[in-house]
Symmetry: C2
Subunit: 124 residues, 2 copies
Amino acid sequence: MNKIPILRMGDTLLVTIQVDMEDQTALALQDDLAAKISTTGAHGVLIDISALEIVDSFVGRMLAGISGIARILDATTVVVGMQPAVAITLVELGLSLEGVRTALDVERGMALLAKARRERVLGR
Amino acid sequence: MNKIPILRMGDTLLVTIQVDMEDQTALALQDDLAAKISTTGAHGVLIDISALEIVDSFVGRMLAGISGIARILDATTVVVGMQPAVAITLVELGLSLEGVRTALDVERGMALLAKARRERVLGR
């Protein structure tokens, strides 16, 4: 089983998904991310999927799951780098990635997280 | 063959190596990085190897190669996240990763790149 590393950059956690994930790897990633958000107090999670050429319903659910877990732990998740063909397939499959925020690339994802952070500060 | 994605963050390129690399993948990464440094004008390359449990002489040479290519293209390379056991094995094998800068984690690597950038600006 491959373990996907989680990089910490300030209060953002960065994950690059490179391999087509087995179920075990995906579940381990969920657990690891939840633990890391909790220990680091991170407010943002950035998941790069630019290397994925296929996103099936399992991976889609996993992304939505991570997003939901992070939200409860007070962190915003942004999925970046989705290939156009993947987006087309997702819609054709009827998978809308509900509740998952997306951005074109890492820089725009970072900008989205910075905006979410400002809103969080202003809201309090 | 797996293609390792290169993420751009400002003027730094970030690469997370997660799988034990085949020769083809390593060579493709060198080519991709050289092309990306050239097109983006990036001044820093950060390579995270925290997921690697084994760094053999081939990967060691690859890291040194990337570092050398980047230097010629006016970019600084920092390898981060090396596991202690990997460092021990490298030294035992007599591989000193000459010319390769290292840092404990991504944040310290980023700090090292920021310092290199300041020195570059002052030097001119």
